[in-house]
Every structure is written in structure tokens, then in C-alpha cells.
């Protein structure tokens, strides 16, 4: 019997249950089956955490299953944007203290959760991670099975260390060829979502593979895994290779285990993509599947450019943005806001001189926060305004007023568009 990467990680976590239990009735790890699994890490943030805490208190257990494995990150409306947000962050803090949680990240020491956790070594290959945030799938980049759930599921995982899962079918996407200039992980995943649609992988896991993936950086892989959910996927996974090991070694706080998909594993669908044909991509409002090559965007003037987020807030992303912005000026009609994904990314960018280049170009550099991505704060759009953004969603009203628009792109296109005042190809502004 051969297995996909997702199936192998789930199989390694199937819970042992005594008596007439769910797992005893449904032990088989096969697509469509239901299994109860142990979790290696449980995550919640300042939006989803308060409900998870409420439900945890309804559970009837006093302590979390393991205070080293429940992680809280105040990142969505932090630094606190208003009194209610301050109270949500306070509720996280109080619970973290009362439970003695080892990993509670607050302003000044935090980051956007999906940039922060791998960076801090809290997620490793072979881990099974559940988070009360849909972009928890980001950790598939390090070969973990990671998936987003709601607060009630997370409360149960916090209390018991276990959760039920439906074993997903796996879609394998193979990227052949070579990347063109200015094309990165964001363009690959936007192109892919354009091909399969926002429900193209619902209930399924995606395995990203092929020669292009083999040479893709960790930051590019995080970007791709991050947006697996935008095709509806439960997880988006990468095989562990030397790039992964170079990233996780010396970083992970726990032992880890690398799995590979078996040759001949059964996939519900295999998609081959010739990456040589892909130019930088732009997703038009109001779905991430409304993708066009940047050369076919036409005249789209913008009011704001957002560079950062759990999708594109890592050092490599800021380097690309700085390369475009260097020695140039943000268009007078555009607000360009750059959000490093974590304190460490911010510090690294400072030390490399990237922050200086960005500020000199007339862009604002913010402390890490999810803020503008979900129209929370720090860059909310007015009616009729348009933004180009390196974030992951462009649903109606996502970044502010329901009559505003978000165009998704990678950091190169976002930075170039900030200079031009309209969405352009990077080579149009970079000599």
C-alpha cells in the first residue's frame, strides 16, 4: 500500500483509543476516512483565541494538554487598534499566564503567526499542527501537515491534544521548466489557483513538486503553502529536502521526522504546469482565482500598495521589494505600506539596509501585524479605492469598504505598481 505525504503524516499521528472509540471504528488512513489524531502544536490568535478560550472553559478540563504546545499570537488587531481589540488581546494574555503557556507572543516580540512559528522553530517536518486561522496551512512548506480550523475545534485540541480529521485525497501539482525573471512563489500559486479555481482543492491536500519546486527557496515555499487554502485545500505540502533541512536544523525546538510520499502513491489528480510560461500574476477582485498575467492587466490605477503579510512578509519578499524601490519614489497618489512579518524579519531587513531603501523611496514601514490584509487597521481602504497587495485574499470588502478593490500580486509587481501609480510589470520601472 502506497501513501501520499499527507496520509503518512496522519498515519503517524493516529490516536490510540481504548474501548469503543472513534479511532477503533475508523482506524484506516485512507482518503475519505475519519481518524482521530494527536496534535503536535495548537495555535490561536487574538480574533479566534477568545472564542477558543470560552469553549475550552465549557469543556470541563482545567489545564491545556501541554503548555509547551499551545501557542497564542496577538497579531490580527495588534498593536491594539481599539478598546475591544485590547480586551481580546488581554484575554489571551490572561489565559496564557494562568495556564503557564510557554509561547505567547505579544507586541514587540511577535510576528504574523505564520511567519513567526516556523521562524521560531515551533514547527518542524512531520508535525501535525492545527490552528484557529485558515492560513495555518503555511507550515506545509516545512513538510508538516498543518490545517486551519475554527475556535471550537481548537478548544478541544487545546484540552485533549487530539482532534478528528477526514483524511484528504491528495492533488499533486508538478511544476516543470524554469522561472522567468521577477516570478516567484506568489506567481506560481496565483497561476495555480487561476487554473483550478477557489474550490479546486476543497477537502483535499496539495503536494507541490517538480524541478521548479526543488530549486524554490523556503520563503517561496511558505508563500505557496500559505495560499493552498485559497483553492479550498486542507493542507499544502512540500517534500522535505536539503533546502528544508538547512532551514529547520538549528532552529526546531522539538525532534522532527521527515516523510516522503511513496513512489506510485495514489493521487486524485495530477496537474503539470510549465512554469516557463508563467509571467508575474495579478488576481483581480473579488476572488483569488480571477488571475491574469501582469502584461494583460490593462490600466488599473491604485491608491495603495501593501507589501507584507503571512503570504509575502518574509526577508526575501522585502529584498525583492527593496530591489524595485531602490533609488525610486513612490507615486504621489499612492500610499505604500510595508509590513515585515516578524520582529526578526524587521531586524534582518534593518541590518541589510532594506528598511532604509524602502523609507527613502517614500514608503511606510510598519511593525508586524495582520492589520490591512483583513481590513482591520493600518491601511483600511475607503469606498472606491484600489490596492495592489501581496496578501492572500481579495474578497469584496476584504481590505475595507465593500466598494473598495484589492488586486493580489507578488512583491515585485506591488513595489513596481507603487512607483508607477498603476499595476505594471516590474521591468517597466526597473532598469
Amino acid at each position: 500500500m502506497t501513501h501520499t505525504l499527507a496520509e503518512k503524516i496522519l498515519a503517524a499521528h493516529v490516536a490510540e483509543v481504548a474501548g469503543a472509540s472513534v479511532a477503533a471504528r475508523m482506524p484506516e488512513v485512507r482518503p475519505g476516512g475519519l481518524v482521530e489524531v494527536s496534535v503536535d502544536l495548537v495555535l490561536a490568535n487574538d480574533i479566534t483565541g477568545p472564542i477558543a478560550i470560552r469553549e475550552f472553559e465549557n469543556l470541563g478540563v482545567k489545564r491545556v494538554f501541554d503548555p509547551t504546545r499551545v501557542v497564542f499570537v496577538a497579531d490580527h488587531f495588534a498593536p491594539n487598534k481599539d478598546i475591544q481589540s485590547a480586551e481580546q488581546c488581554r484575554d489571551l494574555r490572561r489565559f496564557a499566564r494562568a495556564q503557564g503557556l510557554c509561547y505567547h507572543f505579544d507586541v514587540g516580540r511577535m510576528g504574523i503567526e505564520h511567519v513567526l512559528l516556523p521562524e521560531q522553530g515551533l514547527v518542524g517536518p512531520g508535525d501535525l499542527v492545527v490552528g484557529a486561522d485558515s492560513h495555518t496551512c503555511t507550515y506545509g512548506a516545512v513538510g508538516a501537515f498543518a490545517t486551519g480550523m475554527g475556535s471550537t475545534d481548537i478548544a478541544v485540541a487545546m484540552g485533549t491534544g487530539h482532534i478528528w480529521m477526514r483524511v484528504p485525497e491528495t492533488v499533486r501539482i508538478v511544476y516543470e521548466g524554469q522561472l522567468r525573471p521577477w516570478v516567484g512563489g506568489k506567481d506560481l500559486i496565483l497561476y495555480t489557483i487561476g487554473q483550478i479555481g477557489v474550490s479546486g482543492a476543497v477537502y483535499r491536500a496539495i503536494e507541490f513538486a517538480g524541478p521548479v519546486i526543488d530549486t524554490l527557496s523556503m520563503d517561496g515555499r511558505f508563500t505557496m503553502a500559505n495560499m493552498a487554502i485559497e483553492a479550498g485545500a486542507k493542507a499544502g505540502l512540500f517534500a522535505v529536502d536539503s533546502t528544508t533541512l538547512a532551514y529547520v536544523d538549528g532552529r526546531t525546538t522539538r525532534p522532527y521526522c521527515a516523510y516522503q510520499a511513496d513512489p506510485g502513491a495514489t493521487y486524485v489528480r495530477v496537474i503539470e504546469i510549465d512554469a516557463s510560461q508563467i509571467e508575474p500574476q495579478v488576481a483581480f477582485p473579488h476572488l483569488p482565482e480571477n488571475v491574469r498575467p501582469v502584461s494583460q492587466v490593462g490600466d488599473v490605477q491604485i491608491d495603495q500598495a501593501v507589501i507584507g503579510s503571512c503570504t509575502n512578509g518574509r526577508l526575501e519578499d522585502l529584498r525583492v521589494a527593496a530591489r524595485v524601490l531602490q533609488g525610486q519614489h513612490v507615486h504621489p497618489d499612492v500610499r505604500c505600506i510595508v509590513f515585515p512579518g516578524s520582529q526578526q524579519v524587521y531586524l534582518d531587513a534593518l541590518r541589510e539596509g532594506i528598511v532604509e531603501l524602502i523609507v527613502e523611496a517614500g514608503a511606510a514601514v510598519s511593525t508586524p501585524t495582520c492589520g490591512p490584509c483583513l481590513g482591520g487597521h493600518m491601511g483600511v481602504l475607503a469606498a472606491g479605492e484600489r490596492a495592489v497587495s501581496t496578501t492572500n485574499r481579495n474578497f469584496r470588502g476584504r481590505m475595507g469598504h465593500p466598494d473598495s478593490e484589492v488586486y493580489l500580486a507578488g512583491p515585485a509587481v506591488a513595489a513596481a505598481s507603487a512607483i508607477a501609480g498603476r499595476i505594471v510589470e516590474p521591468q517597466e520601472v526597473v532598469a
Binding site: V17, S134, M149, G150
Partner: protein
């Protein structure tokens, strides 16, 4: 459980930002959330919906965020059931977990319009469009899901398991046997 209500019909890919915009997520009180339910795609909805009404929608209902605020807002505003062609994965889990009835039935969706009266027998998965007189059968739930629903949601189900000692054993983390399936431990410290 049987209910009768009026249809509120929406299209494909109704996302969680449409169900409850993120700008209202600075609170988690269900009654506050429900005031803004569907606000950005149907500003009249929250004020006009009647208890027991039914949301009918196309494919991938509830896509996007993991926010449980979305099914909470729908449940609290008074919606008795959501009938869709399909649901986004996280929304599906959340709805079951908090006890918001949801049914998958493309045929019922196709022929229902806003204002039609629907009768829904949730347990049997039977849907009758009282306006057109047509009957439909929704996709049935796996037995485990029925068990969750019967217990009153995931928290109540887990409470029962804790009381009866039916929880799984805690794995000894860091020493889990992951070698029996081809896994290869690369690092142990």
C-alpha cells in the same frame, strides 16, 4: 428536527468576509456579530430575517477565513438551516461543531429562489419546497457526524467522552513511534 422558513438565496463562493466582515471581529459576542451578518452582500438581511429562515447558496459556501464568528452570526441571527451545493471545509466543521444545521443539496438550491418557503427535516435530510411543491433529498451525514450532532456539538461530545474515560491516551511527545510507516527520524534533539 423539522423547520419551515423563507429562503434567502445567494450565489457561489459566499466568503466569510461576506458573512461577517473582519471589521466587526473585535468582539466575539454572538448577538453583536449577528447584527452585521451578510452586511456587505445584503445589507437588508440582518434586519429582515425571521427565525427559522433558510440560507440557500451555491458552491463553496463559507470559503476563506476560519472564523467561527461566521456560523455563529448566522445561527444567532435566527437562520434555521443553510442549504448549499457545497461548503468550504472549515465552515462545514465549524457549523457542525456549534450546532448550526447545514445540508448539501444542489437540486434544492437550483430550484429555490428568495422568498420561497422551504420545509427542512434535518435528520432525514429531506427538503420540501412548499412554493413549488418539489421534494429533495440532501446528502447524508457520516455516522460520526450524526453522533457529534446528536451530542449537541463537539464540546458536549468531548465532555461526554472525558466523563466516560473514552479519550485517547496522551502520546509521549518526542518519543512517538513514527517509524512503522516508512518515516525516518532525521533529528532527535
Amino acid at each position: 428536527m423539522k423547520l419551515t422558513g423563507s429562503v434567502w438565496k445567494y450565489g457561489d463562493n459566499v466568503d466569510t468576509d461576506a458573512i461577517i466582515p473582519a471589521r466587526y471581529l473585535n468582539v466575539s459576542v454572538p448577538e453583536k456579530l449577528s447584527e452585521h451578518c451578510m452586511e456587505d452582500i445584503d445589507p437588508a438581511f440582518a434586519g429582515a430575517v425571521q427565525p427559522g429562515d433558510v440560507i440557500v447558496a451555491g458552491e463553496n459556501f463559507g470559503c476563506g477565513s476560519s472564523r467561527e464568528h461566521a456560523p455563529l452570526a448566522i445561527k444567532t441571527v435566527g437562520i434555521g438551516c443553510v442549504v448549499a451545493c457545497s461548503f468550504a471545509r472549515i465552515f462545514y466543521r465549524n457549523a457542525i461543531n456549534i450546532g448550526l444545521p447545514i445540508l448539501e443539496c444542489g437540486a434544492a438550491v437550483e430550484h429555490a429562489e428568495t422568498g420561497h418557503r422551504l420545509e427542512v427535516d434535518f435528520e432525514g435530510g429531506r427538503i420540501r419546497n412548499l412554493t413549488t411543491g418539489k421534494d429533495y433529498r440532501a446528502k447524508s451525514y457520516p455516522p460520526f457526524m450524526m453522533e457529534l450532532l446528536g451530542a449537541g456539538g463537539l464540546v458536549a461530545y468531548t465532555r461526554q467522552r472525558i466523563r466516560s474515560g473514552r479519550l485517547p491516551r496522551q502520546p509521549k511527545h518526542g518519543q512517538q513511534d513514527r517509524t512503522n510507516d516508512g518515516g525516518r527520524t532525521l533529528k532527535t534533539g
